[in-house]
């Protein structure tokens, strides 16, 4: 039998049961559409997250105290809640003298009760240097940042996040007013620009920034750093800078065995790789859930095809009597099921694209989220291949049942 004839025969019989064909297809349409939507949302979310991380600055290197074992992505000791005191001013100084480093910003971090008048709120504060604002890309919206002089002299000044400003001061202008952090008084010199929650979960909106030494001595009572952020000199390759930092830290800390490093270096690339991995896994996970509906749709097709085979027993008998081979019959029913899933798949892709576009429109128009419209071509190709395979996988059993029918019994079938 010519494929053209087989195709025509199949489309004719599908067209005869239009309602049934459409309902059968619906399972595949929904399945494919949800795979498309979830893969596309996953892609968009990934783009969004990666863009935010990149927004921090791609030439930053984070030095965290404590080794992280051999794995590139394993958590450093400091992140596991262990207090490590190895990162000190001597290290920051060594970085500042290193030509491939353009800035080294130590940070100490703690939590305290922030009080103004009768208002108080629990906040996270960062003790740091004046370079923090430039390196971290956190500009001040109102007032001024503290200066090198403030940092060196241990001035009691603070820059606060815009959310905290509203919480503590309401409609008042916070500039020049004094707040207390754990009984230590600071004069507010500036308010950060509104930025929301930045990457790595730092709530910029409610942050308090104070000079490093004041935070170390008066708030925390420590001499070491929570971390050091290094801005690489753009003239140097970031991996070279990383190797220089490693060298300096090993020298300062007298480490000879690289396996016993008491620090962990994380670059933007590491962060991007980790986040990319996490979001990819999430996307795959979402697609896997969506594909369950595809399986359900496929079973629906198998079910309807089995019914069709039974209903058309006499037709099969007749076709065999006038010379159709088992293969001809198998082909006819397989083409029908593949047509159902393939057409269903295409409608599903179109529906998915429509919904993805709608989500993009709603998010960007009404929520002003920097949502990226992503419609991955791989998802489309995958969807078409999967729907075709589903047609064969779920159609082969009914088609075989049809092909195996004995023509004599089939012709007698009432």
């Amino acid at each position: 039998m010519l494929f053209r004839d087989a195709f025509k025969t199949s489309t004719r019989s599908l067209a005869h049961g239009k309602m049934r064909s459409v309902l059968t297809m619906l399972g595949i349409v929904i399945g494919i559409a949800s795979v498309i939507i979830l893969m596309s949302i996953g892609q968009s979310a990934q783009d969004l997250i990666l863009n935010q991380v990149q927004g921090i600055g791609s030439n930053l290197i984070f030095i965290i105290p404590g080794g992280s074992g051999s794995g590139r992505f394993s958590a450093p000791a400091a992140a596991q809640g262990i207090v490590i005191t190895s990162l000190v001013e001597r290290d920051a100084d060594a970085f500042r003298r290193e030509p491939s480093v353009s800035a080294a910003v130590p940070e100490v971090r703690g939590q305290a009760e922030a009080v103004y008048g009768n208002n108080d709120v629990k906040v996270t504060y960062d003790g740091t240097t004046e370079q923090y604002f430039g390196v971290r890309n956190l500009p001040v919206g109102r007032g001024y940042t503290f200066t090198k002089n403030d940092v060196d002299s241990g001035a009691h000044v603070a820059v606060i996040g815009p959310g905290l400003a509203t919480t503590l001061f309401g409609n008042l202008d916070p500039i020049g007013k004094s707040i207390r952090l754990d009984q230590v008084t600071f004069r507010v010199t500036g308010v950060l620009e509104k930025g929301g929650t930045g990457a790595f979960g730092i709530d910029q909106d409610n942050l308090v920034l104070v000079p490093l030494v004041v935070a170390q001595r008066e708030l925390l009572g420590i001499t070491y750093f929570s971390d050091i952020v290094v801005e690489a000199n753009p003239a140097y390759d970031i991996s070279f800078v990383e190797s220089r930092i490693t060298f300096l830290l090993r020298r300062n800390h007298s480490i000879t065995d690289p396996n016993k490093d008491d620090f962990t270096i994380r670059t933007q690339q590491d962060a991007l790789a980790i986040l990319g991995n996490i979001t990819s896994i999430l996307t795959i996970f979402l697609a896997a859930i969506a594909s369950i509906s595809l399986i359900v749709g496929g079973i629906g097709i198998m079910n309807i095809m089995l019914v069709a085979v039974t209903e058309r027993t006499r037709e099969i008998g007749l076709r065999k009597a006038v010379g159709a081979t088992n293969r001809d019959i198998l082909e006819q029913f397989l083409i029908e099921s593949v047509l159902l899933t393939f057409v269903g798949g295409m409608i599903g892709i179109a529906l998915g694209a429509l919904i993805v576009a709608l989500i993009y429109f709603v998010l960007s128009t009404f929520f002003s989220i920097g949502w990226v419209f992503a419609f991955p071509l791989t998802a489309v190709i995958l969807a078409l291949i999967v729907s075709g395979i589903a047609g064969i996988a779920f159609g082969i059993y009914p088609a075989r049942q049809a092909a195996r029918k004995n023509p004599i019994e089939a012709l007698r079938y009432e």
């Binding site: 039998m1 010519l2 053209r4 004839d5 025969t9 004719r12 005869h16 006499r314 037709e315 008998g317 007749l318 076709r319 065999k320 009597a321 006038v322 010379g323 159709a324 081979t325 088992n326 001809d328 023509p407 004599i408 012709l411």
Partner: protein, 235 residues
């Protein structure tokens, strides 16, 4: 053309075995019009199924156009059914949602040959049963007699050597039945071999030879003496 020697067919099931055919012998030449008669359960349907390659015997030999059924694969049988045999059934077995044209086309879908030549053959076959005006009508909307004529056109379209007709008048009134038999008779006169299974004597007598089957054996095999009773009612 058809040569049957000691043909046997046994069915096996849990209750034991049934011998539907127990050693049938006859031969049919090209151009003959043969009726196979017998009461129900005589084995005549089994015989027709084997003659028309829908089933295989369990013993004896059957040669069709010089080739033994045992030497042929299922694929070859399907090919011969398509090319050399035409089928007319009691229940018509038309696909009611397809048009007359599409129904007649079905055997050609499984034949070799260019699709371009189909149209002329289909139109010719439909014309020969006098339904050219209904060629694009859905088969389901035709009367019983018209349906059977479409079925005959479908059997003719591949220009087969033999037409097997299994109780072709069984579902028809006498008028339509007569019409169908006249078409078969005309086909025979043009040189086609026709093998008819029926239990109606008057229908059987359109043939020039009647083979009677009883209990899986040939009871009698004789020419029809006084042929043609066209003007007499069939029932």
């Amino acid at each position: 053309m058809i040569e049957v020697r000691d043909l046997q067919k046994a069915y096996h099931d849990e209750g034991g075995s049934t011998n539907a055919l127990r050693g049938v012998n006859f031969s049919i030449d090209k151009g003959e019009f043969v009726s196979i008669m017998g009461p129900s359960g005589s084995g005549k349907s089994t015989l027709l199924h084997i003659l028309s390659f829908l089933d295989r015997p369990t013993g004896g030999s059957y040669r069709f156009q010089g080739r033994g059924i045992d030497e042929m694969s299922d694929l070859e049988l399907a090919h011969v059914r398509n090319k050399d045999m035409g089928f007319v059934f009691q229940a018509f077995n038309l696909l009611s949602r397809l048009t007359v044209y599409e129904n007649v086309e079905i055997p050609l879908l499984y034949a070799d040959g260019a699709p371009a030549q189909r149209r002329a053959r289909i139109e010719e076959a439909v014309r020969s049963v006098g339904l050219e005006e209904k060629i694009h009508m859905e088969a389901g909307k035709l009367s019983g007699g018209q349906k059977q004529r479409v079925a005959i056109a479908r059997a003719l379209v591949t220009d087969p050597n033999v037409i097997f007709a299994d109780e072709p008048t069984g579902n028809l009134d006498s008028q339509s039945g007569l019409q169908v038999m006249e078409i078969l008779d005309a086909l025979h006169k043009k040189g086609r071999t026709i093998i008819l299974v029926t239990h109606e004597t008057q229908t059987a007598e359109f043939a020039n030879r009647i083979i009677r089957i009883k209990d899986g054996l040939v009871e009698s095999d004789a020419p029809v003496a006084a042929k043609h009773m066209h003007n007499a009612p069939l029932k």
